[in-house]
């Protein structure tokens, strides 16, 4: 009871003293900040990517994104570490229904293709490696639901090497271009086409693969065991 009251007091004070003034004193900006303005005006010339968010995510703030991939990676590792070795997977009492089985096999290629599309076009349209990766992982989830287990090793290799190549391409930026994760190791190409914006599509594809396989890893680790 005392805890409840204290919690209420704490939250009310937090809201009244900190959040409320914050809310009241931050009206919407009416123009871009100088930094955002730089991205808006120079971004296209710099990196050749029409999607400015992608330009920021993959290149300007590429270190954040590498970190983000790493966060997901260690979360997967941590989950695997915590869950420990699987003794024996639960075999469902009855196989998945025919509808689910057929639906999944039908949808899987489409979902994967869609995922690939999303991360390949990350520099042109909304979306990118993370979104694409999640879509791919949802496809694999289907496979798990119909209990058609793929060897986890495939994903493990895919995950490891996509991550490794991502870092390697980043490092190539130091040697061939201006710095770590610089996308201009490849020609910028024609603005607005799929093979443009230097290494962004490549990097985003690797991120997509990595995120997808990492999420699969989480799913794998969390699957029930007997």
């Amino acid at each position: 009871m005392i805890k409840q009251v204290l919690s209420l007091v704490a939250i009310v004070l937090l809201a009244a003293l900190i959040f409320a003034p914050m809310l009241i004193n931050t009206p919407l900006h009416t123009s871009l900040t100088p930094l955002a303005n730089y991205y808006a005006t120079q971004g296209a010339d710099d990196l050749g990517a029409p999607n400015l968010v992608t330009a920021i995510v993959v290149t300007y703030r590429g270190l954040d994104t590498l970190g983000e991939v790493t966060v997901l990676f260690i979360a997967t590792a941590g989950i695997g570490f915590l869950m420990g070795k699987k003794k024996k997977l639960i075999t469902p009492k009855r196989p998945a229904s025919e509808l689910l089985q057929n639906g999944a096999s039908f949808l899987l290629p489409i979902i994967i293709l869609f995922g690939v599309y999303i991360f390949m076009h990350g520099h042109l349209t909304p979306g990118g490696g993370f979104q694409g990766g999640v879509v791919i992982a949802s496809g694999i989830l289907f496979m798990m639901l119909i209990n058609q287990d793929w060897s986890h090793n495939v994903f493990l290799f895919l995950e490891s090497f996509s991550g490794f190549f991502y870092v390697t391409i980043g490092a190539l930026g130091i040697v061939l271009a201006g710095g770590f994760l610089d996308n201009r190791i490849l020609p910028l190409g024609t603005f607005g086409t799929i093979f443009s914006a230097g290494a962004i599509p490549l990097i985003y594809s690797l991120i997509g693969l990595k995120v997808g396989t990492e999420l699969v890893g989480i799913l794998h680790a969390m699957r029930g065991e007997e």
Partner: protein, 1036 residues
């Protein structure tokens, strides 16, 4: 020259690949893992060297081919590389420590560990706020996962609590970062200025800074951290406590420039509060790892506080203070956590298994002493400079809180130490593996290396000031030799040392040189009676003796204080050697440390000294402020066992080994006297308007009388002598406090005299103890025939104490009463006179109970004390007889010494000494008294022809033959009637006072620590409330 970005790249690349590599062979993955960690250390070390010694400018690494703020940039300068070098080193060695577990555990643990270290490197180098958030999350998530390394149920729930607290903090962090972007339009801290945050904008800064601050575990919003420290595997927890904390601390340091000053001040105070309370709460802790947890939290609080308080200090001082505390925390905490992994016992009282391995015990000592801020380790220097800084910037609240916290720290650390060294071994000795011991030893070496660097490079101490520590090291190397050889070598070393420092600049130094060095040299002879190896004894003995000597040649406050601390720690370790000395030595350490802290502040208030002459000379021209005089006097009076703070004294004297007690009583107490004299030297010219020494004089007088009474009621011979020392030093203190010529002559005379007769007495008692195996006087009796030589020593000595003619004590008493009366301190003189009368009680008791009366059955075959005890006794007796018969030998030089500061008040003519009140001729007194004895003796011999020898048991008592003659020897509770007469005055009030102070503190600590309920939700509530409270206090 490898760009530091490759540290991140390689860690990530290998981290990603590790699980694939592991598919082939664990050997490969382990090689890659340790390879990367080593690579990190090497690259950073290379850069650190460049920045520090080659003057390479700070390195900025842009990513993505753009400059900040367009892209994220990293920065590596001397500070970053310093922090990274140590975090990576500890990271590497923690990994080596965990080698066995890594070999067997899931590959994910290696990946997590590698990425954790990568996160630390990124966090320290990045300049972008959001990037800091990302790296902080990398660090946190890998840490959360690794908490389950031990895989116990406890570590899981601790990890979950950790996560709850962590996500709460990162929510605030994220909010802070985006609102900072809103107000400043930037995410790079180099492009953000505090001025961009007008009125409510500072809330954004508040959110960011409080999030980081919560990650630093401020009291009381830190229960989660304690649970983690307690439950998680000791290798991993060392990383959390040391590496993670260091990185987050550096994060705090990085954002400091954009925070308004009022924020920083509040954080500084909150750090101090954390330090104080963590250490206080640790007092009740019995579990080693949780104890270390409290201590870690406290240390980080201290680090935050020192970061804030040193903000405006000169660069080199910041490095020394913050860097010193930093290194100290890193090394000692990692070392102790690793030891806990080696010991594998939860309870601190089971740590005595360490005694099974000498090098581990030494390491334990090193880490513990380093943590406690004992010289020569880094924490000592940092504390000294921080105290000076706080005094100069008038932050007395923070200063007292830090010192009080440090005192609590000393209490629990040294309780742990003494328990480990002294308690009976009950637990079993676990098996130790090599990788663990290797890593832990490495830290010990680093600690010593830094100590040496600070002393040699920063302060430039000459070898002589480091000699006390070197002595320990040297003796440690030759410790395999038999103790007699080491004893002789030590004796030679002390004489050589004395010869080396001999040409003194003033006579007062010479005088104390004789007390300290010659006195010690003679006392060493008694230690030659030791058999076996006496491991560790001579090292600390030499350390103590060299410290005595260094006190008199110290030329500035720091040299003096450093030496003082060397003396304290070495004497503590010597006292600890006694069989039952655990409590006694702990009490000694606590009182000494409290005194040392007062002195430290006293010195910090004192004006800077000019020139390079010893303190006894230079202080004469320095006006100490009143506060300095008060604090220094208290500090020195604690060491000399003055009334009120004397309770350590009898315990330490009694429980120390027999041959150590004489050093403590006869010589160590004189160090306190010497210190008080130093204060007096300044007092002569610059007495403050408030005559504080008048009250010091009264304390001395009361010490004299109370000590005499207490001595009379002791059954234990050594305790009796201890209280007698207390009483005698009370006289000396009172005499110094007079600050007059005659006062000082008598004080020094008394000091010299006391050194000799108390050494002789303690060594005599040591010999008796050696033969009878008891210190209780009532268990002795009639030893006069069995141990005649010892009897003569005691007889002569007690005559010298009592002030009965013809021996030296008479001269001392004559001088001191003359001094008191001519100074107008009549009442004090009266009390002292009474004290002298009381001292007859105990002096009679000691000779009566031990030597007179009836011999006990079990002592029928007892022999005289060993020759090694007899030799020093008779050297001292010779000294006493010499100055008794020829008082000029000593009065003349003392007169000269005192004339240095005052006009002379006595005249010496031949053997006579004239004062305004009268005169005394020691020579004549001696002749007359001897005559008074010899003439009757001759008459008796001539006139009485036949004498009959009475056998000892041939007695008739009150007209009946007692069944057992021993019962006629009244020795137990001998002065019961006097005690009764004292009534309520006889109660141990002072002891009770300190005892209840201790109880009270402990129960307060117990009360406070109940806020840590163990409920993760409550911990989150603590955090939210803490945020609100700090917000209100800051007045954002």
């Amino acid at each position: 020259m490898v760009s530091p970005i490759y540290i991140l790249i390689l860690s990530l690349a290998i981290g990603f690949l590790l699980s694939v590599i592991d598919k082939t062979n664990r050997k490969f993955s382990l090689t890659a893992f340790y390879g990367v960690l080593t690579f990190n250390v090497l690259v950073i070390a290379d850069w650190f060297y460049r920045f520090l010694f080659l003057g390479v400018p700070t390195l900025t690494i842009n990513t993505a081919g753009f400059r900040a703020p367009v892209s994220i940039n990293l920065q590596l300068g001397v500070q970053e590389s310093f922090v990274l070098l140590f975090t990576n080193l500890i990271g590497l060695f923690a990994a080596i420590f965990l080698y066995k577990k890594f070999k067997e555990s899931n590959i994910s643990s290696l990946t997590l560990y590698l990425i954790l270290i990568m996160g630390v490197n990124g966090l320290v180098m990045t300049r972008d706020l959001f990037n800091m958030y990302v790296f902080l999350e990398i660090l946190s998530i890998s840490t959360y996962s690794l908490t389950s390394f031990g895989k116990t149920g406890k570590s899981l729930s601790a990890g979950f609590k950790y996560m709850l607290a962590g996500v709460t903090a990162s929510t605030f962090f994220l909010l802070g970062v985006v609102f900072i972007y809103y107000f400043s339009g930037n995410l790079n801290i180099d492009f953000i200025q505090a001025s961009q945050f007008t009125n409510y904008g500072s809330i954004a800064l508040f959110l960011l800074s409080i999030a980081i601050f919560i990650e630093l575990k401020p009291f009381p919003a830190n229960g989660w951290a304690l649970d983690v420290y307690e439950a998680v595997d000791s290798g991993i927890v060392s990383v959390i406590a040391v590496v993670n904390s260091a990185a987050i601390l550096f994060l705090f340091y990085k954002i400091m420039p954009i925070l308004p000053e009022r924020f920083l001040n509040v954080f500084g105070i909150a750090g101090v509060i954390t330090f104080l309370f963590s250490n206080m709460l640790a007092l009740k802790q019995k579990k080693a790892k949780r104890l270390l947890g409290y201590s870690s939290i406290g240390q980080v609080g201290l680090l935050v506080a020192s970061l804030v308080f040193t903000a405006n200090a000169p660069q080199h001082l910041i490095y020394l203070i913050v860097g010193g505390f930093f290194i100290n925390h890193l090394i000692s905490k990692a070392g102790l956590f690793w030891l806990s992994g080696i010991v594998k016992h939860e309870n601190i009282s089971d740590w005595n298994v360490l005694r099974g391995n000498r090098s581990l015990l030494i390491l334990f000592g090193i880490f513990l002493f380093a943590l406690a801020g004992i010289p020569p380790f880094a924490g000592f220097w940092a504390k000294w400079e921080l105290v000076k800084l706080l005094v100069h910037s008038k932050m007395l609240f923070a200063l007292s809180a830090i010192l009080l916290g440090s005192l609590f720290e000393i209490i629990f650390l040294f309780r742990w130490f003494t328990l480990t060294v002294k308690s009976d071994i009950a637990a079993t000795i676990p098996r130790w593996d090599a990788s663990k011991i290797f890593s832990t030893s490495f830290l010990g070496v680093i600690a010593i290396f830094f100590a040496a660097m600070i002393m040699k490079v920063y302060y430039g101490f000459s070898l002589i000031h480091i000699l006390p520590v070197l002595a320990v090291l040297v003796i440690d190397i030759i410790d395999f030799l038999p103790s007699k050889v080491k004893g002789l070598l030590s004796l030679l070393a002390v004489l050589a040392y004395g010869y080396y420092i001999y040409p003194f600049e003033s006579n007062i130094q010479l005088f104390f040189g004789i007390i300290f060095i010659v006195g010690s040299a003679v006392n060493i002879i008694s230690t030659l009676n030791r058999t076996g190896k006496s491991e560790g004894f001579y090292g600390f003995l030499l350390m103590m003796i060299f410290s005595f000597g260094n006190l008199i040649i110290a030329t500035n406050y720091l040299e003096f204080f450093l030496t003082w601390e060397f003396m304290t720690i070495s004497s503590f370790l010597l006292i600890l050697r006694g069989k039952q000395a655990q409590k006694a030595s702990l009490m000694y350490m606590i009182f000494s440390t409290a005194g040392a802290y007062l002195m430290m502040v006293g010195f910090a208030f004192a004006p800077q000294l000019m020139g390079n002459s010893p303190l006894v000379i230079s202080l004469a021209n320095v006006q100490l402020p009143l506060i300095s005089i008060i604090l220094l006097s208290i500090g020195f009076m604690i060491k000399s066992g003055s009334l009120g703070v004397h309770i350590w004294l009898p315990e330490a004297h009694a429980e120390a080994e027999a041959d150590v007690s004489s050093f403590i009583s006869a010589i160590l107490l004189k160090a306190g006297v010497f210190g008080l004299l130093l204060v007096g030297i300044s007092y002569v010219k610059f007495a403050p308007s408030f005559d504080i020494f008048y009250w010091v004089g009264w304390i001395g007088v009361l010490t004299a009388i109370v000590g005499a009474f207490l001595a009379s009621f002791q059954e234990d011979a050594k305790r009796l002598l201890a209280y007698s020392s207390m009483s005698q030093v009370g006289y000396i203190v009172a005499a110094i406090a007079m600050v007059s010529h005659l006062g000082w002559v008598s004080a020094l005379y008394l000091a010299f005299n006391h050194m000799m007769f108390k050494s002789a007495l303690f060594i005599a008692v040591a010999g008796i103890y050696y033969r009878t195996h008891t210190r209780n006087m009532y268990e002795m009796g009639g030893l006069i025939k069995k141990m005649p030589l010892s009897y003569i020593t005691v007889l002569i000595s007690i005559i010298a104490v009592s002030g009965v003619p013809p021996l030296s004590g008479f001269g001392a008493k004559w001088l001191i009463y003359t001094a008191f009366i001519s100074n107008g301190w009549y009442l004090q003189a009266g009390v002292l006179f009474f004290a002298s009368a009381v001292s007859f009680l105990y002096l009679y008791r000691i000779i009566h109970s031990i030597f007179l009366g009836q011999l006990k059955y079990e002592h029928q075959d007892i022999k005289e004390a060993p020759v090694w005890f007899i030799i020093p006794q008779y050297i001292f007796l010779g000294g006493i007889m010499a100055i008794s018969a020829f008082p000029n030998l000593i009065i003349k030089p003392l007169n000269k010494i005192a004339m240095h500061y005052f006009g002379s008040s006595i005249r010496i003519d031949g053997y006579s000494i004239f004062s305004e009140l009268g005169h005394w001729d020691g020579h004549v007194v001696m002749l007359v008294t001897m005559g008074a004895f010899i003439v009757p003796l001759l008459i008796l011999l001539l006139l009485v022809g036949k004498t009959q020898k009475v056998k000892q048991f041939n007695i008739v008592y009150a007209a009946e033959r007692p069944e057992s003659p021993q019962t006629t020897h009244v020795a137990h509770n001998m002065y019961a009637h006097y005690r009764k007469a004292l009534g309520g005055w006889g109660k141990p009030r002072i002891w009770n006072f300190w005892h209840s102070a201790s109880e009270w503190t402990h129960s307060l600590a117990d009360y406070f620590r109940h806020i840590y309920t163990g409920n993760g939700q409550t911990y989150v509530l603590h955090i939210i409330l803490y945020v609100v409270v700090i917000y209100i206090v800051m007045g954002v």
